[in-house]
């Protein structure tokens, strides 16, 4: 089989070939290492590539499968983790040279679950330093580059995850999402990114940015691969104080292709914010398609959307500064200036202001829950713009020039505040060939409905089959 074909196959298809022994994990890993060799100089997706370790694991997987010890759909499938997921014996930098030689002694829970499922760890992925930024710029390990145009950002903070999945460097990648860091690079790189409900996927062993806003989750090329990955990584973890005790369904059962009767709310405030007309059109076309497939579309209002940036930023900045306070005092001078400035700005938030933001967060959450009594899902753009240029501080959203950081997080932060599951799925391209994402959010722990709608929409299009020109 052609190397590139292997690299662009999903875990769903690859696993069938692995189980039937038509393809070996060794072939799969070699194909991906070849792809990485060819594309990494342009993309810079990886901080640490584990070629030898992956080859060894692939040989072991091949032996196990030959011997009838097949572990399931991720057995022999390449996985790469954002470099703030602790991996026992493998350095974990959090995107900063300060941790260049930090080698954890144990796996985080998600890495351990991938290992138990037989997935093969291909490497650790580049990211915005300490996950504190939405663009994917990193002076320590080099900026990440968008596979659709290397002059443009990948989005962040899980930028390497976005570029690696989009460019066929890896089948399954992971991110962490505090203000949009899974969904932003997913939208800007043209892949699928799911921020699961807060508490559904364990945070144990991940470097934190903001305890109450952090959500680990999958980033893949298809909704099916996201569902397969959730079957492995979701579930209660006593090591994570916020981990939820809920029943874990088979997420692939949502992949029915049917949206008949689903009630989808279009949040009117999303379309009153600065928004590129090409993005608006792509998203409205996607919503019209869902309606033609049988979904019921209804305009709804989320009045506190306009306060969501202030609530989210206040909580995030206070928690991030608290978490990194010692680091800031000891090694602040080694931090990327914008990251250091955000951490130092957090010092100016009082406890009373933090708690008032948390009170406002409760009201924001209640408003969201009431909305989801009226409808099953909320839909809108993931991003108001396509990928900006690397190091740009401003971007045009239609006629309006807006700050990059605020723009990239304006639609994603609301679902970090309320913890609802939210997915970005490709829904088109701009005239200059850059991907656009549709965001769908659902009720807490109702990932099945989110995946159902995202999959049905995906299968009615060919956006997910397009490949970047790299």
């Amino acid at each position: 089989m052609d190397t590139l074909e292997i690299c662009y196959m999903g875990a769903g298809d690859l696993s069938k070939l692995v189980q039937s022994k038509e393809i070996s994990p060794v072939e799969i890993i070699e194909a991906h290492l070849t792809r990485i060799d060819a594309t990494e100089p342009m993309l810079n997706s990886f901080i640490t590539l584990l070629a030898d370790q992956a080859r060894k694991s692939a040989r072991q997987a091949e032996k196990d499968i030959q011997a009838g010890r097949y572990k399931g759909p991720l057995h022999g499938i390449p996985v790469a983790l954002k470099d703030l997921y602790n991996t026992g014996g493998v350095r974990t930098t959090s995107g900063s040279r300060i941790f260049d030689t930090f080698i954890p002694t144990e796996d985080c829970t998600v890495a351990a679950k991938f290992h138990q499922a037989g997935a093969i760890l291909l490497g650790k992925l580049n990211m915005h330093q300490f996950a504190y930024g939405p663009t994917g710029e990193n002076p320590d390990y080099g900026h990440m580059h968008n596979p659709w145009n290397p002059d443009m950002v990948t989005g962040g903070s899980s930028g390497g995850s976005g570029s690696a999945a989009a460019a066929g460097q890896c089948t399954i990648t992971t991110g962490s999402d505090t203000g949009g860091s899974i969904r932003i690079p997913a939208a800007l790189c043209g892949i699928v990114g799911l921020k699961p409900t807060y508490g559904l996927v364990s945070r144990y062993g991940l470097s934190s940015l903001s305890w109450s806003l952090d959500h680990p989750g999958p980033m893949t090329r298809t909704v099916e691969d996201t569902a397969i990955t959730m079957n492995v990584i979701a579930g209660h973890d006593p090591k994570d104080v916020a981990s939820a005790k809920v029943d874990i369904p088979d997420y692939t059962s949502a992949l029915t292709g049917d949206v008949k009767g689903l009630r989808i709310g279009i949040v009117k405030e999303y379309f009153e914010a600065p928004l590129d007309p090409q993005v608006r059109k792509a998203v409205m076309d996607a919503i019209s398609l869902l309606e033609s497939m049988g979904a019921e579309i209804k305009e709804v209002s989320y009045p506190m959307f306009n306060q969501s940036q202030a609530i989210s930023s206040t909580v995030l900045m206070a928690e991030a500064t608290a978490y990194h306070r010692d680091l800031l005092e000891k090694d602040g001078h080694q931090l990327y200036d914008p990251v250091r400035q955000r951490l130092e700005a957090g010092l100016f938030i009082s406890a009373a202001e933090y708690l008032r933001a948390q009170q406002a967060r409760s009201i924001f959450d209640q408003q969201g829950r009431r909305l989801l009594d009226e409808v099953d899902l909320l839909a809108g753009p993931t991003e108001p713009v396509t990928a900006p240029e690397i190091m740009a501080s401003k971007v045009m959203a239609g006629e309006q020039e807006v700050g990059v950081v605020g723009a990239l997080t304006q639609y994603t932060r609301p679902y970090n505040i309320n913890g609802f599951p939210a997915i970005s799925v490709p829904c088109g391209f701009s005239d200059d060939g850059m991907p656009i994402g549709l965001q769908l959010a659902g009720r807490p722990f109702d990932e099945l409905t989110v995946l159902r709608a995202a999959h049905a929409y995906e299968q009615a299009n060919d956006w997910h089959t397009r490949r970047p020109p790299i």
């Binding site: 508490g199 981990s243 930023s313 400035q341 202001e353 708690l355 406002a360 409760s362 959450d365």
Partner: protein, 64 residues
């Protein structure tokens, strides 16, 4: 710490010195801009009626 009044550069310098924050002039100029943003956010949140609302308790594991 943030107040309803717009933060002046002199107030910012006084506060940052108390907090032990220092840096090159260009760095501090940018930090000043960010901190003014923090103060504006505080004003925005202060305008929300939060009476009767308890702070969000994110760390209580959800079950619904």
């Amino acid at each position: 710490m943030a107040s309803q009044n717009q933060l002046s550069r002199e107030e910012f310098d006084r506060l940052r010195e108390k907090l032990g924050v220092d840096g090159e002039p260009a760095y501090l100029d940018e930090l000043f801009t960010q901190v003014r943003g923090v103060f504006m956010m505080a004003d925005s949140i202060r305008a929300i009626d939060v009476s009767g609302a308890e702070p969000d308790m994110a760390f209580i594991p959800p079950t619904d």
